[in-house]
């Protein structure tokens, strides 16, 4: 029987920095991220993305949040990134923060090459946007499928990549013969084929590489990719908590004014009880997500357990909250005009992203010694 990791007694209350970041992002999204503009993405109008991301990345400095100050970044931790992700989830914001500023950036953090360090600086400045080329459904401990690298050219196809549509540089896993390395490929050298996606506010794409020029930026690719995926999963939990929080708050606000049968709908006890249960879930999701982020930020031994727990829990709560939001808005929640569907689609795609809840529980089964039935 393996030794269980024990939980760490970390401070789970937001720091002042987190509160500031949260307030700033929330205010910006209220002004610049209209639900109707996000909905338009489902009809192919992506006009909202570039200017919004430029502002967030450069003016607010979110692109460099996780980059050390030595490389021109803010030198903040995954805690702060999680706080930002929660607000972006709350706003259903269609920006590549998770894919570029968290996952791709984390993969590059220990880059052992000059090209890597240079790219990190460009990412920190918000001048470039990157994507890690793996299927968005990849869990942190899933098998990785590196592409073939021959004479500095990489070939192969990777399906369902998130953030590739927005990226100008792609981080590709390549097989060096002695393991997996991380190589950069200019987006222009690849064929990035957008896919009609369940969540068009984070549209996935198939990336086809046919002898594209690739520069190795990180020879120790596998640990870097695993760290990036783990960090992404922990931060995604906060995004999910944010999605869930919007759904609860928006539904509450609506039900406090919507009347039926001469009464405010939020006064019907069956509705009240469901909202009370949802409140308990949303609060719990927030706590689970912040604990996961805190352990990853501290490189705490409990981070794998904490992240698997948070992903298992927050994935389902975000979906449940979005489903309740649609249902409790009645017919209006089923309409294209109401933003509830943006959250439903985001929540459902997020549930699959970076590993399904079941995949995270399967991992947890190993981590906490609760194995499947003995064969």
């Amino acid at each position: 029987m393996s030794q269980l990791t024990q939980p760490s007694n970390l401070d789970l209350l937001p720091t002042e920095f987190e509160e500031d970041a949260r307030t700033t992002v929330r205010a910006l999204l209220a002004e610049r991220c209209e639900p109707s503009a996000v909905t338009a993405m489902y009809d192919g109008d992506r006009a909202i993305v570039a200017p919004l991301w430029r502002t967030l990345a450069q003016e607010l400095g979110l692109a460099g949040l996780l980059v050390p100050e030595a490389h021109g970044g803010a030198g903040a931790t995954v805690r702060e990134a999680a706080a930002v992700a929660e607000e972006l989830g709350r706003g259903a914001a269609p920006v590549p923060f998770l894919t570029s500023a968290v996952v791709a950036t984390t993969a590059l953090l220990g880059a052992d090459t000059e090209a890597g360090a240079e790219l990190l600086g460009a990412l920190a400045a918000g001048e470039r946007t990157a994507a890690l080329v793996v299927p968005f459904s990849t869990a942190p401990d899933d098998a990785l499928a590196p592409l073939d690298l021959t004479d500095g050219a990489v070939s192969g196809t990777v399906t369902s990549v998130a953030g590739a549509v927005e990226a100008d540089v792609l981080l590709v896993l390549v097989d060096t013969g002695s393991g997996i390395a991380l190589a950069m490929v200019e987006a222009g050298a690849a064929s990035v084929q957008p896919v009609v996606s369940l969540d068009m506010s984070r549209q996935i794409a198939d990336v086809v590489l046919d002898g594209a020029a690739a520069t190795i930026v990180h020879a120790g690719g596998e640990p870097a990719v695993r760290r990036a995926l783990l960090t992404g999963a922990a931060v995604l939990a906060s995004e999910q908590a944010g999605v869930a929080r919007w759904c609860l708050e928006e539904t509450l606000a609506y039900l406090k004014v919507r009347t039926q049968f001469g009464r405010v709908v939020g006064g019907f006890q069956a509705i009240k009880h469901r909202l009370a249960d949802l409140y308990a879930e949303v609060e719990s999701a927030g706590a689970a997500a912040v604990y996961a982020a805190a352990t990853v930020a501290a490189d705490d031994p409990d981070q794998h357990v904490a992240t698997a727990v948070a992903q298992s829990f927050c994935s389902d709560i975000a979906v449940h909250a979005a489903e309740e939001a649609v249902q409790l808005h009645g017919g209006i929640g089923m309409t294209w005009e109401h933003p509830a569907h943006l959250y439903l689609k985001r929540a459902k795609a997020d549930q699959i992203a970076l590993g399904t809840p079941g995949a995270h529980r399967a991992r947890l089964a190993e981590l906490v010694d609760l194995p499947a039935e003995s064969a």
């Binding site: 009609v196 049968f261 489903e323 009645g330 017919g331 309409t335 439903l344 699959i352």
Partner: protein, 403 residues
């Protein structure tokens, strides 16, 4: 004690003979489709539980299967029931129950043959679950009525020739007492139809704007002020008509089961028991529906159908949600050709298109035709006899309680 079962041996043998005789005289292979259907109606083989002269023979509803099977074996045309669900499932029984002789003669035959498609003008933006709160006004004008208002969630409005309509004829009495039920001509120039896009990207429903629409008093169904009672007849039929599944593995659970079988590489242990539970739930739903239909074979549909509707929605939503998890990476893709393109489908198939569509569409199952919350109230109050909700608007004139 008597161990014998009643098997209706007499009527069913008679009916078999009658269908055979009809088919001897009407060869579906050579006859015009519409002529065949009209003849079938006139022979009382349209809906055998309707009265003679109105497409039926006054027989138990369950015997219809004998007709349908024989017709199907003979290659007879159908009346395409999937294109006229509201007409067949809701308008027809309501007209039968409340219509005048003239109304029954005028409307039932072209309704059944599919010559006239029907839609439903009930819901309004301010009267969703609270149907009795409709604000659409109908004002007496000579031998008819002038109607103004806005309706919503009207499926098939753009294909419909006629509509069942609930409007307020008296705002000075409490809200349930001031409603009247009409049969509305959708070709009236005052009827404007706008597609209402929903979360699947499609516009399966419409908004319908009524501006000075004229309805002759001969198209009032039931008495003035009796609209609430008539509408409830319609709604009970709607609730029971949902959830007819005579064969195993229907609907979205069937799709899920096939995916599970055909794509072994997707299977995970965490989903296995959930798939089996849904299969069990779906099968129990089938058996429960079967028993309920046997119970109701001769009677009117009652509030028990509301419980079936609740279960139907729950299963559909769980199964489609699970299917996306099962598909994993493929669940992130929404690309069966149509994607998010806005279209106006003529019919809806809950088990059709791709998994993402099914997931989103299933969300409507607990809203359309009475939300699950309303269904629970109906079951609690009308089946279980629990007290009604506290009402502040029940005895006051509608105009004082309206928003």
């Amino acid at each position: 004690m008597d161990l014998d079962h009643d098997v209706h041996a007499g009527p069913s043998a008679d009916l078999e003979k009658r269908v055979a005789a009809f088919l001897d005289e009407h060869d579906p292979a050579t006859m015009d489709r519409l002529d065949f259907l009209r003849a079938q109606f006139d022979a009382g083989l349209a809906w055998v539980w309707f009265p003679e002269g109105l497409g039926g023979l006054g027989l138990p509803q369950q015997l219809q299967g004998i007709v349908d099977e024989a017709m199907s074996r003979a290659g007879a045309p159908t009346n395409r029931p999937e294109t006229n669900g509201i007409g067949l499932g809701m308008a027809a029984p309501t007209i039968l129950a409340f219509g005048t002789d003239e109304q029954k003669q005028r409307f039932l035959r072209p309704l059944w043959t599919g010559e006239e498609i029907w839609c439903q003008l009930f819901s309004e933006p301010g009267a969703g679950s609270d149907l009795a709160n409709v604000a659409t006004r109908a004002v007496r004008d000579g031998d008819g009525w002038v109607v103004n208002g806005q309706k919503v969630w009207t499926s098939g409005a753009h294909n419909a020739r006629l509509a069942i309509l609930v409007a307020r004829t008296d705002p000075d009495v409490p809200k349930h007492a001031g409603l009247t039920y009409f049969l509305c001509d959708m070709t009236d120039p005052g009827v404007e139809i706008r597609p209402l896009r929903q979360i699947t990207g499609e516009a399966e429903f419409n908004e319908v704007f009524l501006t000075d629409v004229r309805i002759p008093d001969t198209q009032r169904l039931g008495a003035e002020g009796q609209g609430w009672k008539v509408a409830n007849q319609t709604l009970n039929n709607e609730r029971v008509s949902i959830g007819r599944a005579a064969v195993r593995e229907t609907g979205v659970v069937g799709v899920l089961a096939r995916t599970w079988r055909e794509r072994p590489e997707l299977r995970t242990s965490d989903l296995h028991d959930r798939v089996l539970r849904l299969w069990v739930d779906n099968e129990v739903f089938r058996v429960t529906g079967q028993r309920l239909r046997q119970k109701l074979a001769q009677g009117q549909p009652g509030p028990e159908g509301s419980a079936m509707k609740l279960t139907f929605a729950r299963i559909a939503q769980e199964a489609t949600g699970l299917e996306l998890e099962l598909l994993g990476e493929d669940g992130l893709r929404y690309e069966d050709g149509q994607g998010w393109t806005m279209v106006r489908p003529d019919r809806v198939d809950f088990a059709g298109r791709d998994a993402g569509y099914r997931y989103l569409r299933a969300k409507g199952n607990s809203i359309e035709g009475g939300t699950s919350e309303i269904m629970r109230n109906v079951v609690a109050e009308r089946v279980l006899g629990l007290p009604g909700e506290h009402r502040v608007d029940k005895d006051r004139p509608w105009k004082e309680t309206a928003r």
